[in-house]
């Protein structure tokens, strides 16, 4: 998608975080088409944000660092070396001298300033089209000082949105399973971190085996599988209080949780007497509804963005394949026909693609196809690539990759175009990633 007209982005206000548009954006000429995979990233200058005091200068520099790192990681932008900048942050408080920025081949310029008062923080930022010499975006963001990283991510999201026409994904979190210890007795802990790896924390102590953490749409709780007692079941953890409870009243093992887009329903798998079926659990009423009915394995469900359909994994045809059906039940329609085995489907929040794990010819792949099964494309290939999860804008996929020689498992990201495959650093080995929505 190409942006040709400036438009006001709508950014939801959160907690102590408020955002105000600074002046009406002017028409601009920079266009970044990200649908085909960007081979040449856009050169962008991210100036340190101006601060009057030493503390404000420190924050202004740190915010610019986070913005530049977010943009660089997307693979769509190439932040320029600040040592080449001619104008200082203080000089940039007024209209930039665009000739100075053209000289270093910057196409876009990000400027800003930071004001700290008490524990509050006001950050203003502007995005400039260097060649047209116009402002493309201006925002004032307000929060408490300990939230400065979120401000930086919101600035990066605003830049990304303005230049690509797609919503951003930087003010988000990643939940995953942190792995340590011997392969035969792996210690697994739930971990949560910001999308850029910061604010990392463990949410379980490794005493019980835990698997498959999944954020709710409001990013306030996590559903996951915990091995406690004799029957492993899906638990729900409140991320604000740390309180946990078993989801539903099932006699049997439950696993593979996945929230509906509205957050009212959790789809999970119930394994009863050797037969796995997908059930929906209504969180408000506690009502439990089985929506598959087949002696084959039915598991790994993921909702379409409108909540009306699910894609799931079943071996009813003899091998694990992908099926789409109404979220109210009914006759499933097989969508995977490419040979090999398919699993762990994830429906893109954009609705246009379903990502999956494919096992074929001795390799594991992450791939995407349209929801009707057409246009299958394999994005990765390795011994063990597994468990795709989409960024909230549907443009980037996280997954885990295990190296059979070292036994190490790591998180990786890749664009749905197949470009920009990257390691996502974590303190320990990592698997089972889940990418949150934009934090409200």
């Amino acid at each position: 998608m190409i942006v040709s007209l400036a438009r006001r982005a709508v950014i939801r206000l959160a907690m102590a975080l408020s955002v105000v548009a600074l002046a009406t954006p002017a028409p601009a000429q920079i266009e970044l088409d990200i649908t085909e995979g960007v081979v040449e990233p856009l050169p962008i200058a991210v100036s340190e944000f101006y601060g009057a005091s030493a503390e404000e200068q420190r924050l202004g520099s740190a915010i610019a660092d986070v913005v530049a790192a977010d943009l660089e990681r997307s693979g769509l932008f190439r932040p320029l070396d600040r040592r080449a900048f001619i104008q200082s942050p203080e000089q940039l408080r007024t209209l930039p001298r665009f000739a100075d920025w053209r000289q270093i081949n910057a196409q876009a310029l990000v400027t800003g300033q930071v004001q700290a008062s008490g524990d509050g923080l006001v950050v203003e930022f502007r995005l400039w089209d260097v060649f047209a010499g116009v402002q493309m975006r201006g925002l004032r963001l307000q929060t408490s000082e300990d939230q400065w990283r979120r401000i930086a991510h919101k600035v990066a999201d605003a830049v990304y949105e303005r230049l690509t026409g797609e919503s951003g994904y930087f003010d988000t979190r990643i939940a995953y399973i942190a792995e340590t210890g011997a392969a035969t007795d792996r210690i697994k802990r739930i971990a949560v971190m910001d999308q850029d790896g910061e604010n990392h924390r463990y949410l379980s102590d490794g005493g019980d085996l835990v698997l498959t953490p999944r954020f709710d749409p409001s990013v306030t709780s996590l559903a996951y599988l915990r091995y406690a007692g004799t029957v492993p079941q899906v638990q729900l953890m409140d991320l604000r209080t740390g309180q946990e409870r078993v989801l539903g009243q099932f006699d049997d093992m439950t696993f593979a949780p996945h929230f509906s887009p509205g957050g009212q329903t959790v789809a999970l798998t119930v394994a009863a007497a050797g037969n796995s079926e997908i059930h929906l659990l209504d969180l408000a009423s506690g009502r439990q509804t089985r929506i598959t009915n087949h002696p084959a394995i039915d598991t790994s469900s993921s909702f379409s963005p409108d909540g009306g359909q699910i894609v799931f994994n079943s071996d009813r045809a003899g091998t694990p394949q992908l099926y789409v059906m109404s979220a109210r039940g009914g006759e499933p329609r097989r969508i995977s026909f490419g040979g090999g085995q398919y699993g762990s489907p994830a429906w893109s929040p954009r609705g246009d693609l379903i990502a999956f794990t494919k096992i074929d010819g001795g390799f594991f792949h992450i791939g995407v196809m349209r929801p009707d099964g057409s246009n299958e494309r394999l994005l990765t290939r390795s011994a063990f690539d597994e468990g795709p999860t989409f960024a909230p804008n549907g443009r980037v996929i996280l997954f885990s990759r295990k190296d059979p020689r070292t036994g190490r498992s790591r998180l990786m990201s890749i664009d749905v175009t197949g470009y920009n495959e990257r390691l996502v650093p974590t303190p320990t080995d990592a698997s089972d990633p889940d990418w949150s929505n934009i934090i409200p």
Partner: protein
């Protein structure tokens, strides 16, 4: 076949060491035995004032224990890739497991279903559950009360062998019968 062979050997070994006096030398592994003391161990030196070191003998196999099940019957059966079908080797072991269980009517067991790592994590949880229940159903058909048998699936989470090889996969695709210590 391999499993049966190992079990027979183990039985012979058990018979041989039913009396402590007859323990074969090969069983006295100085690297494993508790207080035997490695060469140069300070406790066997002059400071202890004694020329004799002692150590505890490993306990014998208790009837009705996990070790008993493992050594005299076989505690696990193996499956083909992406399959929960019990082959003749598996049913042979389960026939003996059923007889053994009927001999200890107070014992309860948990059947742990496992897979190799060549599948997705969630699918493998379902497959492990299917395997555990295939074993349970077979034992129940041989008159072991269903109330004595729990099942649990670990999917690919608890491999018996850590490597990524065909041999490792074959040994990881298993259902293990575990004697519950608390009933």
């Amino acid at each position: 076949m391999m499993r049966l062979f190992v079990s027979a050997l183990a039985l012979a070994a058990l018979a041989a060491c039913s009396s402590p006096d007859e323990m074969p030398p090969s069983q006295m592994d100085p690297g494993v035995a508790g207080g035997m003391g490695a060469p140069g161990d300070a406790r066997t030196g002059a400071g202890s004032g004694a020329g004799v070191s002692t150590s505890d003998l490993p306990p014998g196999v208790e009837p009705g224990s996990q070790e008993d099940l493992e050594l005299t019957v076989g505690d696990r059966v193996f499956f083909d890739y992406d399959s929960a079908v019990l082959n003749s080797q598996a049913t042979g072991i389960l026939d003996r497991q059923a007889a053994w269980l009927l001999g200890y009517p107070d014992l309860n067991v948990t059947i742990e279903g496992h897979t190799d790592e060549r599948g997705t994590r969630e699918y493998n949880l379902a497959l492990g559950d299917r395997r555990a229940n295939a074993v349970k159903n077979y034992l129940v058909a041989l008159n072991v009360p269903a109330s004595r048998i729990l099942t649990i699936s670990y999917g690919e989470e608890r491999p018996a062998v850590a490597e990524s090889s065909e041999d490792a996969y074959a040994r990881n695709r298993r259902a293990v019968t575990v004697v519950n210590t608390v009933n």
